[in-house]
């Protein structure tokens, strides 16, 4: 109930921001801008979905940016050096990213490292690995060779629903990028996983009350490991979409993305103290960040001022959430009072 009302509040905030820019920013409310928003931030949304899992488990994953680079570079190498077919490359990259995430989980579960520091260590290590395996350094000339495999570039496809429905004569609908649909599928899948399976319920318990989870016979180690693996998987998926969009991978891909993902997740109502949140919020959070960035650019606001405003909005978003939380608690106390005095 309360989680849902928080999500509505966030949605309201998003819609308000959106409408503001529609009114204030020139060419914000255009079909092509919607395309830009969808294709430019779907992968951020996927990263934010992934990041929700470690955060729900009271952890954090700082290494997602490096995993993005790693998965991207694996695609690059397999395609341009080993000339493997795309249908084979994509699953390999996803598996590698998932394993990289699982290794984070292993460090947290088995070596009992604090998630922040464990993933900080792997952030460095994975990035180093990317440099090591970089086809751009190993084979001269590859840095200017785009990836042309249809399996991969095909991911950067747009769907024109307007003409499909035959209504394009009187409205122009944005063409929807495939990445957006992939994001929706991921969202639906993980929403289902969290909300409707034992694993998901267990994950909330492990994050919210680890002792209760243990006493209920839940294998907390396995759940935690799986949570970090999901984060890795999402990073791998984001990497594939990025590679399709860029037709290449670079060694620096994904730098700083962990911060966007964390910010989107927390704005989306995933509590850093674990056990509270959904994957819907982070997706809204990601597109909220996107709306703000694009909107401010279209408003012609200097990039430096943009940084200041984004920071302020981030504080406002978590502060707003905090206020709602306080109000909710106060209401609860009041309800309780009525009950006891009744």
């Amino acid at each position: 109930m309360t989680a849902r009302s928080a999500a509505f509040a966030l949605l309201a905030f998003f819609v308000a921001t959106f409408i503001f820019f529609c009114v204030a920013a020139p060419r914000f409310a255009t079909a092509s801008n919607m395309e830009n928003l969808m294709s430019g931030f779907s992968f951020v949304a996927i990263l934010a979905i992934g990041q929700s899992f470690p955060i729900l488990l009271r952890g954090i994953d700082l290494s997602v940016g490096a995993i993005v680079a790693l998965a991207g570079m694996i695609v690059f190498d397999l395609e341009l050096i080993f000339h493997l077919p795309g249908w084979l490359i994509l699953p390999i990259a996803l598996v590698a990213a998932t394993l990289a995430g699982a290794l984070n989980g292993w460090l947290v579960v088995k070596l009992k490292l604090q998630p922040f520091i464990a993933t900080l260590a792997t952030l460095a290590a994975y990035r180093g690995l990317v440099y090591s395996i970089s086809g751009r350094q190993l084979v001269p000339g590859l840095s200017t060779t785009p990836i042309r495999d249809p399996w991969i570039t095909g991911l950067e496809t747009y769907f024109d629903f307007g003409s499909l429905l035959g209504i394009s004569d009187w409205v122009t609908l944005p063409w929807v990028p495939l990445s957006f649909f992939i994001m929706l599928v991921v969202l639906a899948a993980f929403h289902f996983l969290l909300g409707s399976t034992r694993f998901g319920r267990s994950l909330y318990t492990v994050g919210g009350n680890p002792e209760a989870a243990r006493l209920a016979g839940i294998d907390t180690a396995r759940v935690t490991l799986a949570g970090y693996a999901v984060s890795g998987f999402c990073a791998g998926l984001a990497a594939i979409l990025l590679v399709a969009r860029l037709t290449t991978a670079t060694e620096a891909l994904g730098t700083g993305m962990e911060m966007s993902a964390i910010a989107a997740a927390v704005i989306g109502g995933v509590s850093l103290s674990g056990g509270i949140g959904s994957v819907v919020g982070p997706v809204i959070g990601a597109f909220l960040l996107g709306t703000i960035l694009i909107g401010l650019t279209l408003l012609g606001i200097s990039q430096y001022v943009q940084q200041i405003l984004t920071g302020a909005i981030l504080v406002a978003a978590v502060g707003y959430d905090r206020i709602l939380d306080l109000r909710r608690r106060r209401r609860l106390v009041a309800n309780l009072a009525e009950e006891t005095h009744a």
Binding site: L111, A121, A124, G128, S132, M259, I308, V318, G319
Partner: protein, 314 residues
């Protein structure tokens, strides 16, 4: 014999970091004797001075279960402000105060939002990172601003005193000051108390929020000192200094020193150990000309392993 291995491990666990350091130092020294040259050893301290000053400042914040991601841009902005003040004809001490006040203001703001509004520190300081960087770029632009004709200012980073770089003296002074604060003043005790149990500290009559604000302010001032040292060391001030990753190095040093991100235990002296540990790894790998990819992988593995060792109990 076999039975005693875990027991030995338990006994050695608290000393995992110094032991790992020793092993690494020996490995470096064997593969490159120049590593142990006094010049290089002093070099290491000079190299870590900036990160070290920030790590010393951040230790208290982390001990209370907080974190400060905004130190990078604070470092940049304090250098820019100090230089602009100098160029505007403000006397040196006042210019330095102007630079340091950047850290103070940002730190107080961080502390206020974290302690008073009780928002998560990681998000608050992430937002502050963005805001301070934006402000620094607004004020200083993307350009490098050379520091010319301010000999005294330049000496802070580049001068020598008693055969040691002044930046090393400064690092030592900040460290000693903070060690004394931790060991000898009520503040040190209070930081530990808040980290251990904030509720209990408040119920013991302490002004925990005010204290936390002060700690973030200390952290900010530490970053500002680092900014002044860096700008004077490189004879330039720029809004782009303290690039992304600076804060993570600082946090890694503090955590390697045994301070838990959950708060509680921690010591300035051990933070120095963490700082030196990372400094030695970087220096040794530079001196051995290890390629960047292997450097990063090794760094990640070494951090994970040495922390895992110190967690190794029972």
């Amino acid at each position: 014999m076999i039975a005693s291995v875990p027991a030995l491990g338990r006994r050695l666990a608290p000393h995992a970091l110094p032991l790992a350091m020793l092993v690494i130092i020996i490995a470096f020294a064997v593969s490159e004797p120049a590593f142990l040259k006094p010049d290089n050893l002093i070099g290491i301290v000079r190299q870590v001075a900036i990160t070290g000053i920030m790590a010393v400042g951040m230790t208290f914040v982390i001990m209370t279960g907080g974190i400060d991601l905004s130190v990078g841009p604070v470092l940049a902005l304090s250098g820019v402000i100090a230089l602009f003040s100098l160029d505007a004809g403000v006397p040196l001490p006042l210019s330095i105060v102007a630079g340091l006040s950047v850290g103070l203001v940002v730190g107080l703001l961080n502390g206020f939002i974290v302690a008073r509004l009780e928002l998560p520190p990681i998000i608050v300081t992430l937002a502050m990172l963005s805001m301070v960087r934006g402000s620094a770029l607004l004020i200083g632009g993307p350009d490098l601003h050379p520091i010319r004709g301010h000999e005294a200012y330049a000496a802070i980073g580049s001068g020598d005193f008693l055969g040691l770089p002044i930046s090393v003296h400064l690092f030592a002074a900040v460290t000693v000051l903070m060690v004394l604060v931790q060991k000898l003043t009520p503040l040190g005790l209070l930081v530990a108390a808040i980290g251990e149990n904030e509720r209990a500290a408040r119920l013991s009559g302490h002004r925990t929020r005010l204290t936390k604000m002060a700690l973030y302010a200390i952290c900010g001032v530490g970053a500002a000192i680092a900014g002044i040292v860096q700008s004077s060391q490189v004879h330039t001030a720029s809004a782009v200094y303290g690039e992304f990753g600076t804060e993570l190095d600082v946090i890694a040093s503090v955590v390697l020193g045994g301070t838990s991100l959950m708060g509680g235990n921690g010591s300035i002296a051990r933070t120095i150990l963490g700082v030196m540990f990372l400094g030695i790894i970087n220096n040794g790998m530079n001196i051995l000309n290890v390629p960047i990819d292997i450097q990063l992988i090794a760094k990640g593995v070494i951090i994970a392993v040495s922390l895992a060792l110190s967690e190794w109990r029972a």
